[in-house]
């Protein structure tokens, strides 16, 4: 008894419960169903998701679930495959001029929208015009606009034209390497509908994707049915329903009872249940999510880089991965997740208490200090904050954990530098392009209230490299600059680096497979055994 | 005529029973209607009447527990009906009440000696010890023992509790004791004990009683003068002998004849009144008793009968005080 009573935590994880760690095989399976003869009740698939579908406008959605649904209904000119490579969609092919200023897309000619209208280059242009229209103020507008300051905006595309029915050309003002990324998020709506400001996208979809909207029930489910006129390979599943199930336990329970075929996300600790069920597969797929704690560089003693480094040394990333994600995560080795193109691996801050303590001592903080940490009040996030608290306690840094709901944290996070009360923030970010990722979180221009640089970290060299990368005509050159950005940021420690967790997707073996490309969960081309 | 201790003039009290939409009362219980009487110092004045006729309301008005709508109340030479509760408080040491319900009138959470000495605490500056001694004396006076002081009311029988109530009333040596049906809740054998006690105390301390009862026999034994109430009005007031020998109001006559006599040899002729007492929200026009009166006439329905003095001190409120049933 006495022995453990005083112990402030012991050992690193992976000990006794290592059997429950999620070790994915090469295909990403943590658990492969042993019973493969499960049958679905009908040829309709249901996916249990955590958050609601809120917006089905393909250029104005903001939450991940909505974006996922949009992917089933609408097509973009090109898309990512699961290895983050661009693959053709509505564009059969594309070319980039050597000066990186002209992008030419060759379009398919066999596409019709579900409202009956045809797809051609003029539709793309109309969509583009609407997308950048300030009046519409769609969220996707951002991908085509560069904000210089609050009042000045510049359109990245100088002009767009349609030389013929099946060709679209974009002339950029200056090189912009992520332009293809932007195009991958540029979903094309029927030309008739896109100009109709009164169209209700929640009632009727107007895309050309493999599915079309059948029913949207706010806060409950969204049902899609197969688009029989789809230009591509016709889906085998009759309908796909996204059902909102906020409780993680319920999602798994519903998967077990066969009410749903896919559950996403799955908490890491459910693996035992899934394993014992026998007919459930569990996929663990690296994601573009980075988890970290922002350290307000304006706040004493966090303004001292030694202190920030000490915090990083004190945090055992492997334990974080194991305790929080049962191993289904990768310790952070840069400010970017490894899945984001442009990522450059950094030398990790290996867990080293002594070093952390000595750094603190150097900074004159042998006795530690206290700091407040905000974060989301969901159970996963509070657990993470508790973990950080436990870790930092080892070097006498007392963390006062203050979970709050998103809106409350939002208010704290967007306060300007002179007013902010934010000290540290346990948070995560997910984005598929390196520029957007680093710009939003670390560039000086994005210090709140403009953006989310809640570390208030300002580094001129970093800013310069980022701009250079942005303007680089080729990917190689761009990646070089982005790599430099990562080098600079990493050692400066604006954050406590945690990990990039995998997406955990569980699905019943009656479903042939599930993939998870960056834009969302994909069962479009899978089949159900009925 | 000895000093008048209490003088009540044209007392009227209505209780609102329902309210209109705007909170204005629309219906009233006419509990006490134009009641006047005097009580001389040292006498026992009784009010008799059937349930709901306004006896208790009269006593509560006199005790300043409720305020009259109209009329005056003179006590010991002062008009008290318009006094505030605070102004009234010092006067209360001269006027104490014994209530009908020996169970409800004692605070179950207080010791008997505290109950008895409470008026002393409120009205005098006696020390705790003196109050206690006085309480013990009083217990003795009412026939309980000092040892009872330490106990709580629930440990006593009804008669004993009534004695406690009487002791409390006596503690400040009041001039007037209002006894509202002090014996109605008691068994006959106990009732006799309490009546005797009241009588003895009156002699001893020269008390004045307003004695309220519905039992004509009890009233006859204890009172000097009697008022008969019906539906909020006094129908007849007379000295004791007068009233029993020569009741003049048909209601008094009916009441007297309805009292069963505990003697099987006497076969009494009962005058059975028809029907029930009307509800006091809708008083009959004219004479309140006319709906049950065997010789009611049209005049009775039309006019409120005047108070007729039939003999000195004997007043009847009837159009035909000379008819007998």
């Amino acid at each position: 008894k006495g022995a453990s009573k005083d112990a402030k935590g012991s050992g690193s994880a992976g000990g006794s419960s290592s059997s429950d760690l999620l070790k994915a095989d090469k295909d990403g399976f943590v658990v492969r169903a042993t019973k493969t003869d499960s049958k679905a009740k009908s040829n309709d698939a249901t996916i249990a998701v955590e958050t609601p579908v809120k917006e089905l406008h393909p250029m104005n959605w903001s939450d991940g679930t909505s974006g996922n649904v949009v992917l089933y209904i609408y097509d973009s000119l090109l898309a990512y495959d699961k290895d983050m490579k661009f693959v053709p969609r509505l564009a059969k092919s594309w070319e980039i001029s050597d000066d990186a200023l002209t992008y030419t897309f060759h379009l398919r000619d066999d596409v019709t929208f579900t409202d009956g209208s045809a797809f051609d280059s003029s539709v793309v242009l109309t969509n583009y015009q609407q997308a950048i229209d300030k009046k519409n103020n769609w969220r996707r507008r951002r991908t085509f606009i560069e904000t210089i300051d609050e009042n000045t905006e510049v359109t990245r595309v100088n002009s767009a034209e349609a030389p013929d029915e099946s060709t679209v050309v974009f002339h950029l003002a200056k090189p912009f390497a992520p332009f293809l990324n932007s195009m991958a998020q540029f979903f094309i709506i029927s030309g008739k509908v896109v100009t109709d400001s009164s169209h209700d996208y929640m009632k009727e979809s107007a895309g050309s994707g493999p599915f079309k909207l059948k029913e949207y029930s706010q806060g409950d489910h969204t049902t899609l049915v197969r688009n029989d006129d789809y230009w591509g390979k016709a889906p085998k599943i009759d309908s796909v329903t996204f059902r909102e199930v906020p409780e993680a336990g319920s999602r798994i329970a519903m998967l077990q009872t066969g009410e749903v075929q896919v559950a996403y996300p799955v908490p890491a600790d459910q693996v035992a249940t899934i394993r014992s069920a026998g007919n459930i597969n569990l996929l663990s797929i690296p994601s573009t999510t980075m988890r970290y704690v922002t350290l307000n560089n304006d706040v004493k003693p966090l303004d001292d880089v030694r202190v920030r480094q000490a915090l990083n040394y004190a945090l055992n990333q492997q334990d974080y991965v194991d305790v929080m994600y049962a191993g289904a995560a990768t310790p952070a080795t840069s400010v970017l997740p490894a899945t984001v193109p442009g990522y450059k691996e950094q030398k990790p801050f290996d867990y080293d208490i002594e070093k952390a303590k000595s750094l603190l001592k150097e900074a004159g903080l042998e006795d530690g200090f206290s700091i407040e940490m905000i974060g989301d009040n969901s159970s996963q996030e509070t657990k993470g904050m508790t973990f950080v608290m436990q870790q930092l306690a080892k070097i006498n840094v007392k963390v006062d954990v203050k979970p709050g709901d998103a809106a409350t944290n939002g208010v704290l996070a967007e306060a300007s530098e002179s007013e902010t009360k934010l000290q540290t923030w346990y948070v995560n970010w997910s984005q598929t392009d390196a520029d957007g990722f680093m710009r939003s979180l670390l560039s000086e221009a994005m210090v709140p209230p403009t953006g989310y640089n809640t570390a208030f970290w300002k580094n001129d060299k970093f800013n310069a490299e980022l701009e250079a990368g942005n303007a680089a005509p080729t990917l190689e050159e761009q990646n070089k600059h982005y790599g430099a950005c990562q080098d600079i940021a990493w050692d400066e420690c604006p954050w406590i680096y945690l990990a990039s967790d995998n997406s955990l997707i569980a699905y019943n073996s009656c479903l042939s497979n599930v993939t998870n490309p960056p834009q969302g969960l994909d069962i479009i081309n899978e089949k159900l055994s009925v | 005529m000895p000093d008048t201790l209490v003088s009540i003039k044209n007392l009227t009290k209505r209780f609102p029973v329902s309210k209109s939409f705007f909170g204005k009362p629309t219906k009233f219980v006419h509990a006490v209607n134009d009641v006047s009487f005097d009580i001389a110092a040292g006498e026992t004045f009784a009010i008799v009447g059937e349930s709901g006729c306004g006896k208790s309301t009269t006593s509560r008005l006199l005790d300043h527990l409720i305020k009259p709508d109209e009329g005056e109340i003179w006590f010991d030479g002062r008009e008290i009906s318009k006094l505030s509760d605070k102004q009234m408080r010092p006067l209360r040491s001269d006027m104490q009440v014994v209530f009908q319900d020996p169970y409800g009138s004692l605070n179950p959470r207080m010791k008997v000696q505290d109950i008895i000495s409470e008026p002393l605490l409120v009205h005098t500056s006696l020390s705790t010890g003196e109050r206690l001694r006085r309480a013990q004396e009083l217990l003795d006076v009412v026939g309980l023992s000092a040892a009872h002081g330490e106990r709580y009311p629930h440990e006593f029988s009804g008669g004993q509790r009534q004695r406690i109530g009487i002791a409390r009333a006596l503690s400040v040596q009041p001039k007037l004791i209002i006894a509202d049906e002090p014996v109605s809740a008691l068994d006959v054998s106990i009732q006799a004990q309490v009546l005797n006690l009241l009588r003895d105390l009156q002699e001893k301390f020269n008390l004045t009683y307003l004695f309220i009862s519905h039992d004509l026999a009890v009233v006859e034994m204890i009172s000097d003068r009697i008022a008969v109430m019906y539906l909020g009005s006094i129908m007849e007031v007379a000295p004791n002998e007068d009233l029993y020998r020569n009741p003049r109001h048909p209601y008094t006559q009916a009441l007297l004849s309805a009292v069963p006599v505990p003697d099987p040899e006497i076969k009494k002729h009962h005058v059975l009144l028809e029907g029930d007492i009307p509800t006091s929200t809708t008083l009959p026009s004219g004479c309140p008793f006319r709906t049950r009166c065997p010789h009611a006439t049209e005049k009775c329905a039309r006019e409120v009968p005047p108070d007729t003095i039939v003999e000195p001190g004997h007043v009847v409120r009837c159009h035909y005080p000379d008819l007998t049933l």
Binding site: R139, S217, G219, R243, A253, T257, A407, G410, V411, T450 | -
Partner: protein, 306 residues
Amino acid sequence: MGKYLVKRILNMIPLLFIISVLVFMFIHLIPGDPARMVAGPQARLGEVEQIREQLGLNKPLLTQYIDWVTGLFHGDFGISFSNKETVGSLLAPRLPITMYLTICSITWSALFGVIIGAVAAINRGRSLDIVGMVIAIAGISIPNFWLGLQLMEIFSVGFGLLPTGGVDTWQGYILPSLAMGAGIMSILARVTRSSMVENLGRDYIRTSRAKGLSESKVIWRHAFKNSSIDVVTVAALQIGALIAGSVVVETVFSIPGLGRLLVASIGYRDYQVIQTLILFFSLEYMVVNLIADVLYGIINPRVRYD
């Protein structure tokens, strides 16, 4: 009676007015910026401002309040910030679900509560009484979300008998209404018991026994009928507990009802929805209590409406 109803309904108006003011003040006091929530995490300040203007959030509070209330009078509850739908169309599909859930809960809980209470009262002081009362008290001692989770674990996951969530089929209502009704059942059981015990001791029960009525008739026709007066009153007061219960239980069982909408709306600072919902819940509470009072008057002839 008609007059009474009119009076009661008129009385509700100032109450609703005060509540509307309070609700309005309350939600604007909650920290958080709806415009920011709508704009999303990646939005820039200018966009947020633009949205703020679109949503009318930059108008003075008083104007916003007046706009809202005027809208209410025209049956226009405003537009949800987070969904762009009218609040009316947001509530419409959810209302029947929550209503049905509430009705299921109150039905079973009333039924069992009353039976347990009555049986306990009849067997007062004996083991059935003790068992009944322990059940009843247990019912109000269980956190309803915990009960919900355990029920789900047992009946859905364990036996696979009932769906774990959603209300696509009627079976979906079973577990949630069990979880929601447990507390009310207990309260009603206790009210029924004490009221029955009291009524069974009344003189008229002795009278009906003296008539030669069988015990069951004495109990149900007289004691129980009299007790139902108390039960109705207390049951109506439980509507508040039910509303709170729906908030929790709808979350546990992923039911797209009003309760969950409220939680979500608070999360999004969706003012229009929160305002309308809370006002609606308050109105519901008042209406149910009014109905109960009317019902009370019907069962109890001693009540006069004037």
